[in-house]
């Protein structure tokens, strides 16, 4: 029995935990039963699980991201409930630690990252007029590695115990001296395998954007979202290896008794913070730049004007990408380094406000004298500008090193980064999802329900996080599971809790909107429901497998607008056979073996590790000698599909 002891979770006196274990079990059984009952295994396997189509992979990323959004959102509501009143006992200290750690990791790695990569997957090849990404099989592997990582992390809740050292996982707290159980091992391995997936995505998309643009599309004629994706993937390629190595060092420390991050024997615990933030700060821009790209698309479309200051948008993103690697020390100004080091990083941090400000003004000037249509995506974009600016300004406050000694590790900081991430990333992803929904599924989401959701989310966001600025300045520390009544944080924390509830209602409304629109929305929305401008709208809704029947011929960053209004000839020549990659189960199998490998590693089950490792090597060898030339979609088939869409050119 000794062997199985390691899989039990550390004791909690908490019925809720057992309830959620039962819930996870029941949902898993329900899914398996449902798919079997409706006889969908074959469909699921051949159309989705083995797909290499960038559109389907993008949709799978987005579905996973939404699932993780609800997982992390439930954690958030639990935390707000716990701190709603002083001396609350809804969660105990250990459980609260696990919840805020899980919330942070899930929201950053498995929600936000998946959402932006999903968007890039779906939109970028369409925007550059390509048939797929450069390495479709690798793309599928990226997704399944991410998915394996996310599932492994969520498993920690049920088997062995969750990580509890914060999403930043600082040593020595995360070391074996202070975190004995396997939680941090889970953290290391889940992030390791999903991080490998992300790194491959980065390489894949750089190659795609550099090599597979439609004829005529020079770099400076790319739509803005593609530019943001290119810069983002450059940052990914340079930032993620640092995380990979830092996690590996942490794993060696915890599982093989090395001394990289220990406090004795020549170890340097602060080195983890340094490495983590060398990756962590660029990560912030990995999240926000694609969001900026989506806002650029949406604001230009619904202002019915071309994007103001295209070149300055590109230049400011390039500058942000460089500066993002020069500021990481501002996450630990209080670690003890002197005034010189802190001043340097303080100044570089403030400098980022300049290119970001340029972008804000460009969006405002795009709207200036435009014929603005307040659709739901546009409302998110308009709300983003003032809210994000407030978050940016408090960011500059935090960048002042001497003042940071007051703000550090308080709720003020928590309010700040939620204030940039929620209006920045989350609003953009919801807006982008609604905007591209007809491209994905061929119908529009209901505008009325969408606006209800919007108001709930915006008001809920303001109520949740603005009070934290005040309690933070009054000295409320982050990550404290409770506080005394005498501290006076009670009323404002209660307001925060109500805000969290409103946010939850808003997200529930989005789900209801999907259900409602799926049942009742009209399907004949045409190919261009928003009167949009860039190339992705030049094909049908939903997009056929091959994207464009004829490779488009591009003359500007708004090729579709020129096609509609200025008589630009977008599709020259006739329909030819199209060469497409084959589906393959290789990716999901390899990622599954990776999952087993990491799981065994977490629990020191070395036999399993060795078997899984052999499995991984075998998969790679198989792929090396596999002959797969793809297939052709024939001319007649394409013509028939085109006729069905009513768009025979």
């Amino acid at each position: 029995m000794d062997f199985f002891d390691r899989f039990t979770i550390p004791p909690h006196d908490d019925p809720m935990l057992y309830a959620s274990i039962v819930a996870i079990g029941l949902v898993s059984i329900a899914i398996v039963f449902g798919v079997t009952y409706f006889k969908k295994w074959g469909y699921l396997w051949s159309e989705w699980l083995t797909t290499v189509d960038h559109k389907r992979i993008g949709i799978m990323y987005i579905i996973s991201a939404l699932l993780m959004l609800f997982r992390g959102g439930a954690d958030a509501v639990m935390m707000r409930l716990q701190t709603a009143v002083p001396d609350n006992s809804f969660l105990d200290a250990q459980h609260y630690n696990e919840v805020f750690t899980t919330h942070g990791v899930v929201m950053i790695f498995f929600m936000a990252m998946a959402f932006i990569i999903g968007m890039m997957n779906f939109v970028v090849p369409l925007q550059i007029g390509a048939r797929d990404v450069a390495f479709p099989r690798l793309n599928a592997l990226s997704f399944w590695l991410y998915f394996a990582g996310a599932m492994l992390f969520n498993l920690s809740f049920v088997i062995g115990g969750s990580p509890d050292a914060g999403w930043t996982n600082y040593y020595p707290l995360a070391g074996t001296d202070f975190s004995e159980h396997v939680g941090v091992n889970y953290y290391n391995w889940a992030l390791q395998i999903s991080g490998i997936g992300t790194l491959m995505t980065g390489i894949n998309f750089i190659a795609t954007i550099m090599k597979m643009r439609a004829p005529g599309m020079t770099l400076m004629k790319m739509p803005m979202f593609t530019w943001s994706a290119l810069i983002t993937n450059l940052i990914i390629v340079f930032a993620f290896p640092v995380l990979t190595i830092a996690l590996l060092m942490g794993t060696l420390d915890r599982q093989f008794f090395t001394n990289f991050f220990t406090t004795g024997d020549g170890g340097m615990d602060m080195m983890w913070a340094n490495l983590f933030w060398i990756w962590g700060h660029p990560e912030v821009y990995i999240l926000i730049l694609p969001a900026f790209g989506i806002y650029s698309q949406i604001i230009a479309t619904f202002s019915q004007r071309n994007l103001y200051g295209y070149k300055s948008m590109v230049a400011s993103m390039v500058i942000i990408s460089l500066l993002s690697f020069m500021v990481w020390v501002h996450h630990f100004f209080t670690m003890g380094q002197g005034a010189v080091a802190n001043s340097i990083f303080s100044i570089t941090t403030m400098a980022i406000a300049v290119p970001t400000g340029i972008k804000i003004f460009n969006w405002l000037l795009t709207m200036w004298k435009g014929k603005i249509r307040f659709t739901t995506p546009m409302m998110y974009s308009v709300a983003f500008i003032p809210l994000f600016t407030i978050g940016g300004v408090t960011g500059v406050m935090l960048a002042i090193a001497s003042a940071d000694y007051q703000y550090h590790n308080t709720m003020f900081l928590v309010a700040h980064f939620h204030n940039v991430i929620i209006p920045g990333v989350v609003f953009a992803m919801i807006a982008g999802l609604i905007y591209y929904w007809p491209k994905m599924f061929g119908f529009l989401l209901n505008e009325r329900i969408g606006k209800w959701a919007f108001w709930n989310i915006v008001i809920g966001f303001c109520l949740s996080f603005f009070p934290m600025y005040i309690t933070g300045l009054n000295g409320q520390a982050r990550r404290m599971y409770t506080y005394s009544e005498a501290s006076g944080f009670g009323p404002l924390s209660m307001v925060s809790f109500f805000g969290a509830l409103l946010l939850a209602v808003g997200f529930a409304l989005i789900v209801y909107n999907v259900y409602y629109s799926f049942r009742y929305a009209p399907r004949n929305v045409g190919d261009d429901p928003w009167n949009a401008r860039s190339l992705e709208w030049a094909t049908h809704n939903p997009v056929p497998e091959y994207n464009f029947a004829i490779t488009p011929n591009v003359n500007s960053s708004e090729a579709f607008w020129d096609y509609k209004k200025n008589g630009h000839d977008l599709f020259k020549g006739g329909i030819k056979d199209i060469h497409m990659p084959n589906n393959s189960g290789w990716s999901i199998i390899l990622a599954g073996i990776f999952f087993v490998f990491a799981f065994c590693f977490v629990f020191h089950v070395w036999v399993g590790v060795i078997i899984a490792f052999v499995g991984i090597i075998s998969c790679l060898l198989y792929r090396s000698f596999e002959k797969d030339d793809g297939h052709h979609i024939h001319k007649e088939e394409i013509e028939e599909t085109e006729k069905k869409f009513g768009g025979a050119e």
Binding site: M210, L234, F238, V242, M268, M270, M271, N274, I278, L322, F325, M326, W328, V329, F332, M335, G336, Q337, G338, A339, V340, A341, N342, I344, F345
Partner: protein, 95 residues
């Protein structure tokens, strides 16, 4: 004859052997630690450049501009990261 005898690659090969010999000399000759390390770092970077240009054919395709820009970008970021880390972890405590 020119096609059969790739002058550039042969020269590159000889040059990279030469760099290896210079780097190896650090072990055989008695010199200060700083001196030895300087030689190693300089020869290592030149070696990497030679490999990149001569044997990995950077600069022979149409998109050589992009390749060089990306390489320089990567080198700049690596230097910034190392210098910044030294600043945050060592120098920052001296001043």
């Amino acid at each position: 004859m020119r096609e059969l005898f790739p002058m550039k690659q042969v020269n590159g090969y000889i040059f990279s052997l030469l760099l290896t010999v210079v780097a190896l000399s650090v072990y055989f000759f008695d010199m200060s630690f700083a001196m030895g390390l300087t030689i190693l770092v300089v020869t290592a970077f030149i070696q990497a450049g030679v490999q990149l240009v001569v044997f990995m054919h950077a600069g022979e395709s149409e998109d050589k501009g992009g390749i060089y820009v990306h390489t320089i970008y990567g080198v700049v970021l690596a230097l910034l990261t190392i210098l910044g880390s030294l600043l945050a972890m060592i120098w920052g405590y001296m001043y």
